[in-house]
Symmetry: C2
Subunit: 190 residues, 2 copies
DNA sequence: CTGATTTGTTAACAAATGTTATCGCGGGAG
DNA sequence: CTCCCGCGATAACATTTGTTAACAAATCAG
C-alpha cells in the first residue's frame, strides 16, 4: 500500500517511516459509516481494498456525490480543513480494508511537506486536479444528458459501473433508478 | 484597485510596487474576446469594472460556465497552468476596464509568494475555496431543480440576475431560455 | 430617427424524466 | 432450507423540459 509513497516522495527513510507509522489499519464490513453528516471530521482514510460512497440526505432522499476505490484518499475535506460539521456521510459499500490517519498527524505531515518545494508543488497540483475534476463534473451536468453522462461513466470510470449498485449510480447522475434502468435497456436495444 | 493588496499582503512596498507594475490597464467594449477556445492562455485578467462570461461551444450551442464581476481574477486556469489549449472562450459582456498580467510575470510572483508561509497558505486556501465552489455547483446540479437553482442564484449571486442577459443565465443553469422565461413567469404569479 | 439586431415572452406540441406500483431474482439471516 | 429484503426491470401515467415558431420590447449602429 505504501510503496507508491517510497517512489514518489523524496524524503528520507526515517521520516517516511514516521509518516507511515501514523496510519492505522482497520477492517470494516459493508455499509459501515466512517463519518456521519453533521459530525466534525477528524480522520482521513486510505482505501486498501473496498469501495466507499459519499452522500447526504436531501429532504429524505439520498444524494450520492462521490465514489472512491483502492488507493484513494477519502474524507470530508471541507469539514476536515475548516473544522465545521460535515455536510456528508461517508460509508463503505463493500467490506473494506482501510488505513486511517488522525487529523493532528496529517496536519503535522502537511506542515512539513509545505517546506519541501517539490512536495509542496505536488500538493498544490493535487488540489488543482481536484478542482478540475469538479469543474468537469459541473460542466458535464449542464452540457450532457443523463444518457450521455452514463456513457461517460462507462468510458471514464468503468469501476463504478461494475462495482456500484445501480440506484447509487442513478443518485450520482442526478436521476431516478427507474430512469437509469430505462437508459440501460434503451442502450441494450439500440 | 490595488488597495486590497496593500491591506492583505504582508510584503514590503518595493516588492509590492514591482508586482503592481506588472499589471497593465486595458479598456475594451462589450463582447470582446479576451481568450479564444483552442488558444493557449498567456494572460490573467483582473476586473476593475465590467463583467465577463466564460463559455464554450457544444455542438453549435453556447454553454456558459462562469460569470465574473469587479475585483475578480479571470483566466482559463487549466490552460494557463498546464500550457494546454483553452477549453473555453473568455468574453466581456459589458464594456470593461481590466488589468492584465502576463503569465511569466505571474509565475514569478507565485514562485516568490510560495516561500512566504502566510501568503502560501492564503494561496492554498484560495484554491480550496475554488474547489468547494465547483463542488457546491456540481452537487446543486444533481440535487436541485432548475427552478431551485434559479432561486439560489437570486439569493447568492444577485449580480448575475441584475446584470447578465437572460439567455446566458439559462445556459449557465443548463436549461433553455424559453424554460427560464417560464420559470420566471411562474414565480411572478405564485 | 430608423431599421436591424439582440433579448425576452408566449403558445402548441414533442420528448425526456419522474412517480408509483408491480413483479422477479438472488443472496443472506435465521 | 426458507423467508425476507435489497436490487433491478417494466408499465402506466403525471410532470417537467425542450423545440419551434411567432411576436413584442429593448438596444444599437448608422
Amino acid at each position: 500500500m505504501f510503496s507508491t509513497f517510497r517512489d514518489r516522495f523524496p524524503i528520507d527513510d526515517k521520516k517516511r517511516n514516521e509518516y507511515v507509522s501514523y496510519f492505522k489499519l482497520m477492517k470494516v464490513p459493508a455499509k459501515t459509516r466512517l463519518l456521519e453528516e453533521g459530525k466534525i471530521s477528524k480522520k482521513m482514510f486510505l482505501i486498501e481494498t473496498g469501495c466507499i460512497r459519499v452522500w447526504f440526505n436531501n429532504n429524505g432522499k439520498d444524494v450520492t456525490t462521490q465514489f472512491f476505490f483502492e488507493n484513494n484518499m477519502v474524507g470530508s475535506i471541507e469539514s476536515f480543513r475548516k473544522n465545521i460539521p460535515s455536510p456528508v456521510t461517508i460509508e463503505t459499500i463493500e467490506p473494506s480494508v482501510l488505513w486511517w490517519i488522525h487529523k493532528k498527524d496529517l496536519d503535522k505531515i502537511m506542515e512539513e511537506i509545505k517546506e519541501i518545494p517539490s512536495l509542496r508543488d505536488m500538493f498544490i497540483d493535487a488540489i488543482f486536479d481536484r478542482t478540475y475534476d469538479y469543474m468537469k463534473q459541473f460542466i458535464s451536468s449542464i452540457k450532457d444528458s443523463p444518457e450521455q453522462r452514463y456513457l461517460n461513466l462507462i468510458q471514464e470510470r468503468p469501476q463504478i459501473i461494475r462495482r456500484i449498485p445501480q440506484h447509487y449510480i442513478a443518485s450520482y447522475l442526478g436521476i431516478t433508478k427507474v430512469h437509469l434502468s430505462r437508459i440501460k435497456s434503451k442502450l441494450a436495444k439500440g
